[in-house]
């Protein structure tokens, strides 16, 4: 089997603001293989979106990638010049954003926005680019594509717009797609359709996909591997079955427990006590320490990412099978 499509090693992206340094991404490493889907899970402020932007090289000041290796099919992305970046973005790596109303330019037609995505990377004629755009719309399941092409973004519904965004992302058959919460703003039924389509497209074309979300249910149905992020770091990593059926990290456990359907009817809903720490002032040692039932003095030092079988966990007291009995 060929090597991984994407390798991230020790990524550190910090924001140098007037109030201090925000360690948005603080030592993140993972891999994604061709045709596989990686779920990047975490709540707001966990650093997952910034991870996505860092991979794309779209971190704006006052943010900066301090260190880390990012390799796309073995090629180092951090060493790219701006001209090389322009060639890579949209062609080898594509991104889907959360709100398609804001990401599609409201005053330009859909075909303009799709054709330019093609012609920025291939010297084809306008008609040929238009054909590709039309095919892309068909592939994401948009009916009457010719009418849609000459329309403007505001004439579409939310689900339709997001499909257009997906079509644009896939139009140049990139090696990697980074999707940043693309279905958060949509109805559940539409969400289901889009998830199914994205999964199919990735399997068919061998595109690797990173799906960033806070919603565990989405990950359960979509991803192959999962990375759980907390306070700028990966706290657990494994296949989706491993992580969701038998979570190792107390935070992952807490996330799963707080899903309402996993609670007994009539019993009080379980929550993770406390709040995510501000990234400006992270506590000493494990960032989850103040909210964790299992915390001890050991947790005052920084836990590294331990391998546990073919999984990884950043915890001094990971949950094992026998601990499950402790859960009330």
């Amino acid at each position: 089997m060929s090597g991984p499509t994407l390798e991230v090693a020790g990524l550190r992206t910090h924001f140098f603001t007037r109030q201090g340094v925000v360690k948005a991404v603080d030592g993140v490493s993972f891999e994604v293989h061709p045709g596989r889907i990686l779920g990047l899970v975490g709540e707001s402020g966990s650093g997952k979106t910034i991870t996505g932007f860092s991979i794309m090289g779209l971190v704006d000041p006052p943010g900066r990638i301090l260190e880390g290796e990012i390799r796309l099919k073995g090629r180092s992305l951090r060493a790219l010049s701006p001209a090389e970046w322009q060639a890579v973005r949209g062609d080898r790596i594509a991104m889907i954003f959360q709100d398609p109303m804001m990401t599609l330019n409201p005053v330009l037609r859909i075909d303009t926005q799709m054709i330019e995505a093609v012609r920025a990377h291939a010297g084809v004629s306008v008609q040929a680019a238009r054909e590709r755009a039309r095919e892309a719309l068909v592939r994401v399941g948009i009916p009457s594509p010719d009418e849609r092409l000459v329309a403007y973004p505001h004439q579409f519904s939310g689900g339709m717009r997001q499909r257009v965004a997906i079509a644009i992302a896939l139009i140049n058959k990139p090696d990697l797609v980074i999707a940043d919460e693309p279905t958060t703003a949509l109805d559940v039924t539409i969400q289901g359709q889009i998830l199914a389509e994205v999964q199919k497209l990735c399997r068919e074309s061998g595109t690797a996909l990173i799906w960033i979300t806070h919603d565990l249910a989405v990950i359960a149905g979509l991803a192959d591997e999962v990375c759980v992020m907390y306070a700028g770091r990966i706290v657990e990593r494994g296949t989706v079955d491993q992580v969701l059926d038998a979570p190792l990290h107390p935070y992952t456990r807490g996330l799963l427990d707080s899903v309402p359907s996993r609670n007994r009817p009539g019993a009080p809903l379980r929550q993770i006590p406390g709040m995510t720490p501000s990234l400006l002032a992270l506590p000493q040692g494990c960032a989850f320490r103040s909210r964790c039932r299992r915390a001890t003095e050991t947790c005052l030092s920084d836990p590294p990412l331990y391998p546990l079988g073919d999984r990884q966990v950043r915890c001094f007291h990971p949950i094992h099978a026998e601990d499950e009995a402790e859960v009330e």
């Binding site: 060639a87 949209g90 594509a94 954003f97 990401t103 330019n105 329309a151 579409f156």
Partner: protein, 325 residues
């Protein structure tokens, strides 16, 4: 879309009526219409005949109707000073003013848009900051004083440009214009630049603010994520978004330019409507004053209407709001 146009037309008609009423009241009720419309040098008999002829002995509302009827026919009185119909006098001078205002608007946009774009893209650079400081100067400087200084520098000291008058004119589609000859351009440059100054500052500030705001938008990030070149991101994506408000505001400013031309034409002795009105006020040629006010109010309403329609055409969100998919 059609509904929108019709509605705006009706609104404009209402405003036109209201303004005509105001001018009428100003002339007939507040001012002394006898003085305003009848040449004071006429003798008593002529005055009384004129009073009857103008219907000044009738009740006020009847006079207003007469006024409206005459205005619709194009009869806005006869100039005291020139003894020709006031309307004709003004229409003769209109092309000169329109030429001046158009040249000023073109200068303001052609120079202001790129400068504002630059200041918006690099706000903290030396160039960016100088452009902003310059723009404050641009709308703080009193236009008339700048005109004087321009004359002083370019006409008196350097002797490069003529200090007054309009260049030789040629007819373009039946309208006399002066920019087709080099001499004409020489006469046009200073007054047009002088008139453009305030608008130039405005366009710079608008463009800068619009650019800064646009750059923060998601669609710019998305465009970069598609791998588009910076030139395309700014030249197409950003520009198309900011051009809509800028075009509309500049369009609305056209009317203001015509009004401010009064000052510029006075300084540079440019033979347009503005100079006419000042001269008329000075010699108390009141029919011309009344005619000018009515015409310029109409011009304004037409410009506002045209800009409204232009805006709805340019912004697809407005244009296609009834065609939701």
């Amino acid at each position: 879309m059609l509904v929108f146009v019709i509605r705006r037309l009706l609104q404009s008609a209402v405003v036109l009526f209201a303004m005509s009423l105001l001018v009428f009241l100003g002339v007939y009720a507040i001012g002394n219409p006898v003085d305003i419309l009848i040449n004071p040098n006429a003798d008593q008999e002529d005055i009384e005949r004129a009073i009857k002829g103008l219907g000044l002995d009738k009740p006020l509302w009847e006079q207003y109707l007469v006024f409206l009827r005459q205005a619709a026919e194009g009869n806005l009185g006869k100039s005291f000073a020139f003894n020709v119909p006031a309307l004709q006098l003004i229409l003769e001078r209109m092309p000169a003013t329109l030429e001046l205002a158009t040249a000023a608007m073109l200068i303001a946009v052609a120079v202001g848009l790129p400068l504002g774009l630059w200041a918006g893209l690099k706000p903290d650079s030396f160039a960016g900051r100088s452009i902003m400081a310059g723009s404050i100067l641009g709308f703080s400087l009193p236009t008339f004083w700048v005109g004087l200084m321009l004359i002083m520098v370019f006409s008196v000291y350097l002797g490069w440009l003529p200090s007054n008058g309009r260049g030789p004119t040629t007819d373009l589609f039946g309208v006399p214009v002066s920019f087709l000859s080099w001499d004409g351009i020489r006469h046009l440059i200073m007054p047009a630049t002088n008139l453009a100054l305030f608008n130039l500052a405005l366009v710079i500030r608008l463009t800068r603010a619009g650019t800064r705001e646009a750059l923060l938008q998601d669609y710019v990030k998305f465009a970069r994520a598609k791998g588009l070149s910076d030139g395309r991101v700014i030249g197409v994506h950003v520009l198309k978004n900011i051009s809509i408000p800028i075009v509309t505001i500049t369009g609305l400013q056209f009317g203001t330019l015509i009004a401010f031309a009064i000052v510029t034409e006075t300084i540079f002795a440019w033979p347009g409507m503005g100079k006419l009105i000042i001269d008329s006020i000075n010699v108390l040629d009141r029919p011309v004053i009344v005619a000018y006010l009515l015409i310029i109010v109409t011009l304004f309403i037409v410009i506002n209407l045209a800009v409204d329609i232009l805006y709805s055409v340019l912004d697809p969100r407005v244009r296609l709001s009834d065609a939701k998919a």
